[in-house]
């Protein structure tokens, strides 16, 4: 008791709750409202010490509310709002309030309670003894309102009395809908009762519960962004809130189940209006285009054959794209640039941002020891690849190693498809339609042009051999991919990443199969001195390219950041274990790879994103948007529910 008193003396209104309890609350809130993005729209967790009338006292982690005004008439009414408004993405929101004391009798309790007396002194308020200070009649009439109000509604009032304010009052059981006069609604409530308030953000209604029993709809057409609110008007009134700290008396989850079922059946029954198999054709097209996009050539062909559809893109084109993607994913970015320039002349010249991104990646891969420009020095010993974190033990059994695939995908769930594409699109639109090619623009700095020219010729020569061998193996790889592909797609929302990871493994395997022993120690540029020299030289070129782009198109913070990050790797003795070491992770090749693939497709007048992913991204974005504009049904129509 003494401890508790001291606690409230120091902590005042904001006595910090014990961490395990907070964790329990977080866990429960996540389970109740999984669709809420709590970074964007935090959930109410307690009453706000800032958003209350001064006749209100808070304690017990700002969950307990007591009245400390005179309670003479309605001018002494006082309310408090929760810390945050109810996010629409809750779909169904619920909180409960327990009436600890209905007042008058409770006054004595307060005066004798050490804890509460301390609290009062902190606020410079001493409870007057009981009557005659307060007329008897007023004490008989207990005012207590539980409800909702918008931000800014006068707190010197009970919930329900004003515009955008709604309440259920204990003395008469009436509901108050933004009006000073109530409507008969439910039973009265008093000490010991638990009153719950449920906001349905799907149909914008609200109902109350009393001791676990639903009392029926109280309000309809509720506005958005309401705060849980409680108002008191009689000395001695004490109520405790439960925003999810405790299990609720009312079975709110059962109510949620009903609405989830309702919404899902609405989706299920949504009329498609199938005209002569249009729907089926569309679905087939989505699958087919997805396969083609990622270069699953054989699967796509087989699918087209079975469904009797045609593939827009030519076989060779798909294979070309796949070859380039494989190179990027294998970390052989230099070769990939080479191949792109060869197969799609002018593409990179028209996309200087993409080229820069690729070159930055190439630099990183040089550090890694993977890029062919440094590999050629290492006399086929880029063993550093072995010890990639998360890379599988390279054995034939990898094909069935599904669990590994999943875990890799789960490691980087934030790198979702929708986000990526948005970003790349933005960067494109920043520098629209570059009319001048990079060679013409680089004429102002001849030295750099020379460098890059000699560079490219070098790499072409040296890589001739390896690229052909790569091509030879590609067919057999294709088949394997086709075989394992379905596993990846269905398991997680970050589909593209998983595909990418998978390919990466494939390539690793083909590469590694030719290497007998593996070196456990990772070294800069594979430990080769000449390679390091080459890397540093390349770095200078990259720096110059950056400066050149800056001159031509103005400052680009993204480029600057990329370059900075890449160069930072050299500042550490062990780049793999440094703050920017994450760049070396093979998973970082995937966004680069995707950007390149999209650019190629776009240049061929094909969609730069597969319609399937577009639809998925659109659905996710639509749900996010629904949450933002206050459409609660988004909470029961999660994309995840349909991707099992």
């Amino acid at each position: 008791m003494a401890e508790a008193g001291a606690g409230s003396l120091h902590g005042g209104d904001a006595a910090p709750p014990s961490p395990p309890r907070e964790q329990e609350l977080s866990r429960r809130l996540r389970r109740l409202y999984p669709a809420v993005n709590q970074d964007e729209t935090p959930l109410p967790r307690s009453w706000s010490p800032k958003d209350k009338y001064n006749y209100i006292g808070l304690s017990q982690g700002n969950l307990r509310v007591h009245y400390k005004g005179h309670g003479k008439n309605h001018k002494d009414a006082a309310s408090v709002r929760a810390t945050h408004p109810i996010p629409a993405a809750c779909g169904i929101y619920y909180f409960e309030v327990k009436i600890v004391s209905k007042g008058r009798d409770g006054c004595c309790e307060i005066l004798h309670s050490k804890e509460e007396t301390f609290q009062e002194r902190v606020f410079g308020f001493v409870f007057s003894p009981l009557p005659p200070a307060i007329p008897e009649c007023l004490l008989e009439k207990r005012y207590m309102g539980i409800g909702l109000s918008a931000q800014g509604v006068n707190m010197n009032r009970l919930p329900g009395w004003d515009k955008h304010s709604y309440g259920y009052h204990g003395d008469d059981g009436h509901s108050f809908c933004s009006s000073g006069t109530g409507q008969p609604y439910g039973p009265t409530f008093t000490t010991g009762d638990v009153i719950g308030c449920c906001v349905n953000l799907i149909n914008n209604t609200c109902f109350y519960t009393k001791n676990g029993h639903s009392l029926g709809i109280a309000f309809t057409d509720l506005p958005a962004n309401l705060y849980p609110t409680v108002g008191l008007q009689t000395p001695g009134e004490i109520v405790d809130a439960n925003f999810g700290q405790q299990p609720f008396v009312f079975d709110i989850e059962d109510y949620m189940r009903e609405w989830r079922a309702k919404i899902q059946s609405t989706i299920k029954r949504f009329p498609i209006g199938d005209r002569l198999g249009e729907w089926q054709a569309m679905l087939q097209n989505m699958v087919s285009s997805y396969l083609v996009h990622h270069g699953y050539c054989s699967t796509a062909t087989a699918f087209a054959r079975v469904t009797d559809t045609t593939i827009q893109e030519e076989q060779t084109s798909i294979k070309n794209r796949q070859r380039i993607q494989k190179l990027v994913l294998a970390g052989r970015v230099g070769e990939a640039i080479e191949a792109t320039q060869q197969l799609y002349p002018g593409l990179l010249e028209h996309n200087p941002n993409l080229l820069f991104m690729l070159k930055c990646r190439q630099f990183v891969e040089m550090v890694n020891g993977t890029d062919s420009e440094v590999r050629c020095f290492g006399a086929r010993s880029p063993r550093s690849q072995d010890s990639y974190p998360g890379s599988p033990s390279l054995s034939p059994r990898h094909g069935s190693n599904n669990s590994h695939l999943h875990s890799t995908g789960a490691d980087s769930p934030t790198c979702s498809n929708g986000v990526m594409s948005t970003k790349s699109k933005q960067s494109h639109s920043k520098y629209p339609t570059l009319s001048s090619s990079s060679s013409s623009s680089s004429s102002s700095s001849p030295s750099s042009v020379n460098y890059s020219e000699s560079n490219s010729t070098d790499s072409t020569k040296s890589q001739q051999h390896s690229s052909t061998s790569n091509q030879e193996t590609s067919d057999s790889e294709m088949e394997m991919e086709a075989e394992h592909y379905p596993n990846g797609v269905l398991e997680n929302s970050s589909t593209r990443i998983m595909n990418g990871t998978y390919k990466h493994e494939e390539i690793l395997q083909t590469d590694e199969s030719s290497m007998e022993d593996s070196c456990p120690q990772r070294q800069l540029c594979g430990g080769n001195h000449a390679a390091t020299e080459r890397m540093i030289q390349f770095g200078r070129e990259l720096q110059m390219l950056s400066e050149q782009l800056c001159r031509e198109y103005g400052k680009n913070t993204m480029h600057k950041k990329m370059l900075q990050d890449a160069f930072s790797l050299l500042a550490y003795s062990d780049p793999w274990n440094c703050p920017v070491g994450q760049q070396l992770d093979p998973i970082q090749r995937e966004p680069v790879c995707a950007a390149l693939n999209s650019a190629i497709l776009e240049s061929q007048n094909l969609p730069k994103q597969p319609p399937l992913m577009l639809a998925l991204g659109q659905a996710s974005e639509c749900l996010r948007l629904m949450a933002r504009v206050g459409l609660g049904s988004c909470s029961f129509a999660r994309v995840d529910d349909y991707l099992h």
């Binding site: 039973p187 009393k210 009392l215 029926g216 059962d254 109510y255 189940r257 989830r260």
Partner: protein, 642 residues
């Protein structure tokens, strides 16, 4: 004329096909079982979808032979199965086919078949049974219904066998098992008590039922599961304050009453809820605040709605069909809700047009609605306040009296019960009811074969006589006739006897009334009293009888009827020393009234009773440990001192 023409025509058609049909039947009699089997299989193929062929085969007597083969132990299971299939096929035909099959006692044969170990044969039998029972011509009582059949099924292990089907992965199977339980447990304590302890996969049945109440489950499943739990609760197998009743079953049933549900579901929901809360005031209170149930029910009276009439004929038809059911269900639920709590009654009556609806309901043509309306009225008539206000405002007594004319007994029972309440002394309806000839009606009810009606009739008369004026009392006595009064006093039912004694007591109050009635009926009443005091009756009856004597002793001239009856005086003396204090007290009232001073002839009476040894007893009683007896004895003794 038409018949004559038609007959030969039919004959000729028949004779044409008979040849081929006869062949099929003949083959059933082959000596080679293999050939018989083939014959049955061929017959099966021949009758599928061919009603004419079916009729022919029946006419040619295929059914008895098939049944014979089906029942023969010596037949191969294959043959028996094929027979069952053919019979099932025949049952698929016209209603006449089914009738013919029933005439051949097919049900017994098929049920017998269910005992076979062969699953395929059982399946064929079941299919055939199903087809037959789906037909409207099959009488329902051939199938198990009612408490006896519940017990039969129960004794054959139905509960254990069906329980595991509840967790089947097939919704259809689950649902059928659930329905089966709802029927088995209905008003059957034995089944209900068993169900609570049955578990499937480590889960008790009530828990499984609660899961089926979840709000995302199909409505049919929620409703049926709630019915199971309701039966179990009413049977006492689950406490009424158990959370699975209060927090799950009750709210679920209230939801079933909501506008969103189908009309059938709303009817069933309301009826089940009425049954669940019928006898428990806490459940009534909870239901009354849940989801505005009382207001929600008012909507049950709005069918067919004016909208449906205009927009959609089909909808109108549907509404009309359910309108009666909806109204009676709502009345029933209102009756249960208002059974005990005055506040709830008030809320019900304050619902829009409630009294008008009841009044209208009382004169509806549908017996079910009338009955439910009367029940509702009865429940509400338990409120003193309502009797004085809304009942009077709406002249409820008028339609009620009308209901009491020529109604079936089940309505009469509730209506007369209601009348009892309306005849209470403080009820303003009492006067008009009397004027509309209630005495005659009630007297006739006391002669009914139906016990409940006799009780209610005499009960109402008793209420009517309480503190009534002389004329009413005389009217009652005249209407009832002395013979009937004695008839009732010797009624085998103690309730009737008690209420009759109560009537007598009410009649014999206030001195002029006592003297008047005793002057006309004194002899008979004294006889009846003697008879009862001598008879084998319980304490309450004897106490009531002694109270009647005490009332008589309060009269002026009536006193003499006791004082001159030594037999009665001895009896009073006997009861003063009885082991039961209640009877002692009642006897003392008599003595007190007889020896009271300041009344004419009190001295003589005191002397006579002293001579009988009453004073000695009084002295003894004044030492009693029972304060009531002690006080009473002391007061009586004071009369002697004065």
């Amino acid at each position: 004329m038409a018949c004559v023409l038609e007959a030969p025509l039919r004959m000729s058609v028949l004779s044409e096909v008979t040849a081929s049909s006869r062949h099929y039947v003949d083959r059933l009699f082959d000596l080679d079982p293999q050939k018989v089997l083939q014959g049955v299989i061929d017959m099966k193929n021949a009758v599928i979808g061919n009603n004419k062929q079916k009729a022919n085969l029946i006419v040619l007597g295929a059914v008895p032979r098939l049944l014979y083969l089906l029942q023969q132990e010596t037949s191969s299971t294959e043959l028996r199965t094929e027979c069952a299939v053919v019979l099932g096929s025949l049952a698929m035909g016209t209603e006449n086919n089914v009738k013919s099959l029933l005439d051949c006692h097919i049900i017994t044969a098929l049920l017998q078949g269910l005992l076979s170990p062969d699953l395929k044969f059982i399946e064929a039998c079941l299919r055939c049974l199903r087809t037959i029972f789906i037909s409207p011509v099959t009488p329902e009582d051939l199938l198990y219904t009612g408490p006896d059949h519940q017990t039969i099924l129960f004794n054959h292990g139905a509960v254990q066998n069906i329980a595991h089907l509840l967790v089947s992965t097939s919704y259809k199977v689950q649902m059928q098992a659930l329905k089966c339980f709802s029927v088995l447990a209905f008003e059957n304590p034995q089944v209900s008590m068993t169900l609570v302890n049955v578990s499937v996969d480590g889960e008790l049945l009530p828990q499984i039922f609660v899961k089926m109440l979840q709000r995302d489950k199909p409505i049919e499943m929620q409703l049926t599961s709630a019915k199971c739990l309701t039966s179990m609760c009413r049977a006492g197998a689950i406490r009424t304050d158990d959370s699975c009743i209060v927090l799950k079953t009750l709210p679920c049933l209230v939801r079933m009453c909501s506008k969103e549900r189908l009309l059938e579901e709303r009817v069933e929901g309301a009826e089940t809820l009425a049954y669940l809360i019928e006898t428990d005031v806490e459940l009534q209170r909870t239901a009354s605040i849940t989801d505005h149930l009382i207001v929600m029910l008012a909507d049950y009276f709005k069918y067919p709605s004016s909208v449906s009439a205009i927009t959609d004929i089909k909808r109108l038809d549907h509404d009309l069909k359910h309108a009666h059911e909806l109204r009676q269900a709502a009345f029933k639920l209102y009756a249960s809700l208002g059974a005990n709590d005055e506040d709830i009654r008030k809320k019900i009556i304050e619902t829009e047009n409630m009294m008008d609806r009841i009044v209208n309901g009382l004169s509806e043509s549908s017996i079910k609605v009338r009955l439910a309306a009367v029940r509702c009225l009865h429940s509400l008539s338990r409120s003193v306040q309502q009797l004085r206000t809304s009942f009077q405002d709406h002249a409820v007594w008028k339609p009620l009296m009308k209901v009491l004319q020529n109604a079936p007994n089940e309505i009469l029972v509730v209506a007369s019960s209601t009348l009892c309440n309306l005849l209470l002394e403080f009820s303003p309806s009492k006067e008009p009811i009397l004027e509309s000839g209630a005495i005659e009606l009630l007297c006739s009810l006391t002669q009914s074969e139906n016990l409940a009606l006799r009780v209610n009739g005499i009960w109402a008369l008793m209420n009517m006589a309480f503190q009534a004026e002389q004329k009413i009392k005389s009217d009652i006595l005249r209407g009832l006739s002395t013979e009937q009064l004695f008839q009732l006093l010797s009624d085998s039912d103690v309730n009737v006897l008690m209420k009759t004694l109560g009537l007598l007591r009410n009649l014999l109050s206030t001195r002029p009334h006592i003297d008047h009635i005793m002057s006309t009926h004194g002899k008979q009443i004294m006889q009846a009293v003697t008879l009862i005091l001598e008879g084998e009756h319980n304490i309450e009856v004897k106490e009531q009888t002694l109270c009647i004597l005490a009332n008589i002793a309060d009269g002026t001239t009536a006193k003499e009827l006791i004082m001159t009856n030594d037999d009665i005086l001895q009896k009073i003396k006997y009861y003063m020393s009885h082991s039961n204090a209640k009877l002692q007290l009642a006897a003392m009232f008599c003595i007190s009234n007889l020896i009271w001073n300041e009344e004419e002839g009190s001295q003589e009476r005191q002397d006579k009773l002293r001579d009988m040894g009453i004073v000695d007893i009084l002295h003894k009683l004044s030492q009693s440990s029972d304060p009531n007896l002690c006080d009473k004895a002391k007061t009586a003794l004071q009369q002697y001192l004065a």
